[in-house]
């Protein structure tokens, strides 16, 4: 039986006190004052925020495990400075850790990194280490454009990023390349900025030669890889024009796309043009698109349905739902093995794949 591992979930329903503190923190920093104390948030508040939202939908959709990170749009490294970002990242990641402790069979942690325009990566590397070695996280989100929509950061192939890549390889952790909110009113966050940033990231990697320097580095480009699969011929052709090897050898040993594509033809195309070993199941639930598609009667972001309805084989679907995630996130694989060895009464059935594909 196949497990369903969702590689892309954000804590979009965190208790209000958390976001209220963030606003107070930024106001205090702007006024040159120390931030107020972080509020006490009870386990019950966290449980409520999850049980009524993500967990309810997870149960309905039969998802086993979600890789859970702070809300993407409020990571907002363009607000404040590296000092405020560092404390905010710590608070956000600690909240994720609490969710994972309360629901260990349902959520594994993916951290945000403290970043800021112009800042170096020291704080990010330090927080990554703390989250992985201290809090048991299995992945991280890396923001390629901490300026929030100006695209003025060094490309992902620039040596600026190398210290972080070294740390990722040392920890054997993948990074999802994920921007945050847009501070450009002409660029809607989830409808324009996210998809543009995904596409730009892919082309940066195509133009460079990053994976010669980091053959073990694994990067996930979310939202179905932006525009890349739809324009796969363009990218194959550009690789050829730029004198690069084929995409499969140049990039696709190291790049993975999720399935956050909210209609059947899009997921079908993804599975057709991209080798299924490079596709990770993801929904971004509860995220950018929350409604029900009147054409199908299902939630737009119920992406399990699209994968199951695709023409892929059961083996390919099992790779997308489970096997690829275990390979790309080896610390998740270890965590799942430990959970099965010491089962939790409620989570046991799911961890053995009860919600899985017919086999």
């Amino acid at each position: 039986m196949t497990m369903i591992i969702d590689c892309h979930g954000h804590y979009t329903t965190a208790p209000d006190a958390h976001d209220i503190w963030r606003r107070a923190q930024l106001s205090a920093a702007a006024a040159g004052r120390a931030p107020p104390p972080y509020p006490t948030i009870s386990d019950d508040e966290i449980r409520n925020s999850i049980e009524r939202n993500q967990l309810r939908l997870i149960e309905e959709r039969g998802i086993d495990m979600t890789l859970f990170s702070p809300r993407a749009s409020t990571m907002a490294p363009h607000l404040g400075d590296i000092r405020t970002s560092t404390e905010w990242a710590a608070r956000c990641n600690e909240l994720i850790a609490r969710v994972c402790t309360l629901f260990p069979h349902r959520f594994a942690g993916v951290c945000m990194l403290p970043q800021a325009p112009g800042a170096d990566l020291d704080a990010a590397i330090s927080e990554l280490d703390r989250c992985v070695n201290g809090l048991g996280f299995v992945g991280c989100n890396l923001n390629p454009d901490p300026g929030g929509g100006a695209f003025d950061h060094p490309p992902l192939t620039d040596r600026f990023w190398y210290p972080l890549y070294e740390k990722l390889c040392e920890l054997d952790i993948p990074a999802m390349i994920h921007v945050s909110g847009s501070c450009n009113h002409a660029m809607h966050a989830t409808g324009a900025y996210y998809i543009a940033a995904d596409t730009i990231a892919f082309m940066q990697l195509l133009e460079g030669d990053l994976f010669s320097d980091f053959p073990a580095l694994r990067l996930i480009i979310p939202h179905g890889g932006g525009a890349a699969p739809y324009h796969w011929g363009r990218y194959r052709g550009l690789a050829d024009m730029l004198g690069k090897p084929s995409l499969s050898s140049h990039l696709m040993k190291n790049i993975f796309f999720d399935t956050c594509v909210y209609h059947q033809p899009g997921v079908d195309l993804l599975g057709e043009v991209v080798d299924t070993s490079n596709i990770l199941f993801g929904s971004e639930m509860i995220g950018a698109v929350r409604g029900i598609d009147s054409q199908t009667g299902r939630y737009f972001d119920d992406t399990r349905h699209y994968v199951e309805n695709s023409a892929l084989t059961l083996e390919q679907k099992a790779d997308i739902f489970e096997n690829n995630a275990r390979r790309v996130f080896p610390r998740l694989d270890e965590k799942l093995a430990a959970l099965v060895a010491a089962p939790h009464s409620q989570g046991q059935a799911r961890l053995n794949g009860s919600s899985a594909l017919p086999s």
Copy 2:
């Protein structure tokens, strides 16, 4: 018999003297000097630049008519200022007019507009009028980000653009939304900037309500609509979340995508999710991707082949190849009617559709 009208061709092979003059013009402007005189370019030089390149491939591929505009990547409104852009646009458009005069059965003119960061649209409106009423052009390219990659221009729904839209409606001319070269080294022009800008433009139009103010305005989003068709479910869902009408009534009476998508699955998806009345045949030949796809043995940008191999009906293909273009570009339709009425010996057969689909 169906004609094949390519709505998206750029003069990427203009004689060197033209581009050498542009560099001299910019250098002179930077030094506070008047530009050197524009060089004499003979008809033979223009004929050669076309016959060996675009026309050769047009004949090979059986394309009847190409809507031809200046090279996109060198429109470069971020270089110089509105004064240099105005003269450059005039020179570029006049060269296009000469191509169209030399090959009237093969090329119809689409003008670039003089734009510059921060400049108003007076020069653009004036040049548009000159090109349409004076040079017989049938369309224009509108750059939504004349800064060359900062995305800091007002969104396409902003009233900033309204005077130009009024002129477009008065002239009954569509605009292709097309950025130029990128001045951001982290953003490759044809692999990242173009596709990101297309996607951002679509989302700007989705967020706004432009076509209530301009119900007759027609905008073409090139490169297959950027990421929009691949993420059609996301955009349908975002329209729903933003309280907008369905995409079909909110946008798709006014927005058209071309077929510049360089592989079969991409064109198949486009035809599956977007009503074929909104799709215009385009190749961008000779453009971004010039090589031959080793998987097919054909040029990546031989997009006619993908459309013909798709599962669409002959009627749908005829709409994509001919009927939609005649509807979106009514001045092209008039021009074609005039050419048939006064046939050119060599072009006659093609204008009657001899290179067309089996019917």
